[in-house]
Symmetry: D2
Subunit: 114 residues, 4 copies
């Protein structure tokens, strides 16, 4: 994802919602609900699987579902003037301190929600 693509995506999303007069629904709480619902759509692709892979016949849907999560993530970040790349870089700084290699190596119990 280069800068041109990202800016162009944000612009496209903004135009899309403006054309449909949907900004009226976009208070941040509603955006957060939609983000959660789309993340659940991703998870649903793995429902009932025993091999932890996407369920049969649903392999083509993961790209669209991840895109939907990205859509709401960009909307929320835009609402709060957050630069997602900088936010993640800053969070990785914290993660590297919180989950020191020494303590966390190979241990899932040290690896709860980042």
């Amino acid at each position: 994802m280069n800068n041109v693509e990202f800016e162009s995506l944000l612009k496209r999303i903004k135009q899309f919602t403006k054309d449909r007069d949907w900004d009226q629904f976009h208070d941040p709480k509603n955006l957060a609900i939609s983000l959660q619902l789309e993340a659940s759509e991703v998870l649903e692709l793995f429902q009932w699987t025993k091999d932890n892979q996407i369920k049969a016949g649903k392999e083509d849907e993961i790209s669209d579902e991840l895109a939907d999560v990205m859509y709401w993530l960009i909307m929320l970040a835009n609402h709060y003037d957050i630069d997602l790349a900088k936010a993640l870089d800053k969070k990785m700084d914290k993660n590297e301190v919180k989950y020191s290699i020494e303590k966390a190596k190979g241990k899932s119990d040290k690896y709860t929600q980042l």
Copy 2:
């Protein structure tokens, strides 16, 4: 988010998980669960609010929580060799057809889960 930043973030995440020997936990089903859990952490910031804004005293947390969602989104996209920018661009093509301005303008009932 420019290209250099994005590639560098992905590289950093990969190194972070490799250093901690955490790839063993990263089957896609577990990644999808973590994506969902982090999206819920975002939503939790809005729990009980009446004004649909982040609850008092939690304003500083939104950046970290969105970063966490981005983290798992990148991990899942990387697992399936999906380019998030291209995926979203392609999804927007579909959205613009599915939600025609004529039919969808100003109507939240036309605007369910993308």
Copy 3:
């Protein structure tokens, strides 16, 4: 919900899954995923609403969606031999200590996730 109804519901659910040979999919992780997905279906009824009520045309669906959550809740409780009524009664004991009337009265910030 009286005892006869509850026992009869559990028996009915068990027969339903046995008849379909679905127990093979019911490891507790998969049950927990389904519980989460059904809770999201409930939340989806409120997506985009401004008045915090169920969205127009969806009012008849809440009963079925709550039933679906109840279904997985009973399945998970049964898996772990948990009596839901006793579990909730015990949890209320804790809640009454954790959220003392004195400290919690009228304050949503004291009222996060029980």
Copy 4:
């Protein structure tokens, strides 16, 4: 769960929220968000597990987490005057038609979200 227990639980929950003046936060959208957040807490107990069982050291928490889901389920059902036992019984009628034994037996792909 017998009738006396259920009625007594509902009464206890109502008194608990009244004592804390929390009814003001309990519009149904907020209740649905809390239901979803608690279902995520259940799912979190299984995060990163490879054996699909609750993660080590968290076994004692499942009872409390299921109780929390039950709490919000009862609150939402009460808000809409829904009898959970009748609602589930009615939903099972539909499930038995929708997922006929003949078509659904042994097939997880027939077994998506009820």
